[in-house]
Amino acid sequence: MRLDIRYRTTFTYENLVRESQNELRACPRSDENQGLISYRLQTWPSSKVFAFTDYWGTRVDAFGIRLPHVSLEVVAESSVETFQRPLLTVAPHLETLRDPAFISAHHEYLQRSPHADWGRGIEAEARRQRELVGDDVVSLVLAVHRVTGARITYARGATEVGIEVEEVLSQGKGVCQDFAHLAVALCRSQGIPARYVSGYLFTRDDSVGADVTDGDVVEVQTHAWFEAAIPGFGWLALDPTNQKEVGVRHVKIGHGRDYDDVQPLRGIFCGSSSPTVEPRVEIRRVRTNASPVFDRHVRDPQMEHQQQQ
């Protein structure tokens, strides 16, 4: 599926601020499930963007505005083609998780991390699922995915970044990041490597993830889901918020241990006023043979030093 994505965030300040420095992670990656066709970033006031690929393989755009300003607008436009994912054809035994080579290769995704730490509640829930489904990895991952959806109700604005996953579980409400973090923590507590994914979802309502039938443009926010490592297969991607497998309507920006590794926009500025933030993502489906809305080719991001007007 060909999708054009327009990520836009506007910061508006009451008073002048200066020396703002930022890192944006909004560019879809290219991998076996999707191909990036074009990407372009602009900021107002204008800035010199320095782009690089980070440790996790995500493109980062670093930019700063030194002079005083009252608003900062960031617009990142991308065009991406998503592909059908391969069907899962394996059913490895839980024992395969103990293979030292498998553990070593996925070590980072087995550890606790600040937003995906677990306590007794999560561990008990994960064990209960394990007892229910038996001894194959895929069934356990799917059970984690289901129970995440069953235990949390989507509630916009229910939580702030930084909430403990245990608390999410006990209060039973959250947003997509919370769903992803809880699923990651449940998996890791059972020795299944799991990672947090930041991306975009082409849907009218990201709490249900329904296919878009009444038009080709939607307005959403950035989305989050999770991936679990299946021995003999690779990463299985699931979207627990809307209880679907990740497919052609999902566009991945990047992954990491948790939110902190792929935070879409982080920055700092000098000034006394706190900003009003307006994040908005517009996704347009491009029908076959139509020309892309945003036509601009991307060079190797690591080498790129592009001067934006």
Binding site: D54, A62, G64, R66, I103, H305
Partner: protein, 520 residues
Amino acid sequence: MPPDRASATDANRASLFADYDLGGFFDEVFDADNHVRPHYAPLLAGLDRFTPEDLVRRARIRDAAFRSQGITFTVYDEGEGIERTFPMDLLPRIVPADEWQHIEDGLVQRVTALNSFLDDLYVGEGAAIHDGIIPIWLVETSDGFNREAFGIPVPLGARCLVAGVDLVRDGEGTYLVLEDNLRNPSGVSYVIENRVAMTRVLPTVFANQQIRSVDHYGRSLLNALNRVAPPASGDRPTVVVLTPGVFNSAYFEHVFLASQMGVELVEGRDLVVDDHVVSMRTTQGLQRVDVIYRRIDDAFLDPVVFRSDSTLGVPGLMAAARAGNVTIANAVGNGVADDKAVYAYVPELIRYYLGEEPILPNVDTYLLWDEDQRSEVLDRLDELVIKPVAEAGGYGIVIGPAASDAELEACRVNIEADPRNYIAQEVVSLSRHPSLVDDHLEGRHIDLRPFVLSGGDIEVIPGGLTRVAMQRGSLVVSSSQGGGSKDTWVLAKGAELVVDSDAETHDGTEPAADDVEELS
């Protein structure tokens, strides 16, 4: 009474060394038969003219001099953080030229391998991991492995621009590496100031000695920093020293080093990043900065990337470094290589990167995630030294033979809860050196922190900080743990030949040293 001391003609020495007991340790001054080691003979002869009262008086002069210079060290453990002087013992430590050559060769080798390892991890292919030299999970679980530094190049691969490698000598006098300090090793200011103080307080003991100087450290450091400047910065790069500020325990040293190099001492708020270029705010406007010798921990360096609550750092600094517009020294992320568990792999890393046998061996180290090693260690906890892997400065160390049952039990619980976080080492019977205690000399355990500069070529400053455990029997010699220090003399090649029996038979008829009034 040992033969050497009994036969000494001078009664002062006899009284200084009265009751001096080797205690079964390797003593730097006396060999096992109580003979003075040849390289100490001129010094002891020079001391003959001093009565114990003279030395005590000179110790007071020394204290006054250090205090008026403001050379202090904050000890964090004592509640508030107490500023006190870092006392220099009046007896210098002497290293003969051939021993120093061995140390220098070993340090150059070790730091070369550590630079290679860090470059391999952060901008290379992780070859040492792929080739099974070091486990990937060990690297990934190191607190000092900063993924934020991944892909940031450092000119000449000089990541450990300043390394402080702590050495100890065991019961046989073999030099061993106790730990590597590759982040912000401090203490070099004492190396230089101790030398200055010694020449003022006891000038006559320098007679008949060819001691290699240490006062060029500032020039050598500046030279190394200039060499790692980004290529675009031209012939005369602008270097600054970045300090967290006056409340840091090593602030004195930051001021000292900036002045030795003749460069600006700045705090984070004095720097600003614009279009990924770092500049310093001056009264004439912004001035571009090419190299930052930072004495701020990684976590506080750039709030965009690291701790967002840090007000000590410079927002945008990491991107500027990544863009190649500024060099940060020491490089970000070096902590992975001085992690005490990674330390255990350094001999293998030397073999791997250099194809050489390590010149300076490690202390025998046990890795506690290994079940066999852990159970052996837990059985012998009261015989071993336990160290947290990421701490520096002697914090958190448990010395088995000296620990109470409760301390050992707490240690056992900690190890079992997080075995990756600790290592165990055999207790090294550290060498001792006579040190002035009240009005006489007693043996005290010492170590040595030489300073190694990377900037293309690797340079070892001939000398180093000899730290003294001032409490009797204590094996912890960190400056953070209330120890003292010694001026450390490295003798020039051929200097031993200059030293002849003249010194030993010195009759002490010269006037009793210099006039000390000029110090005040």
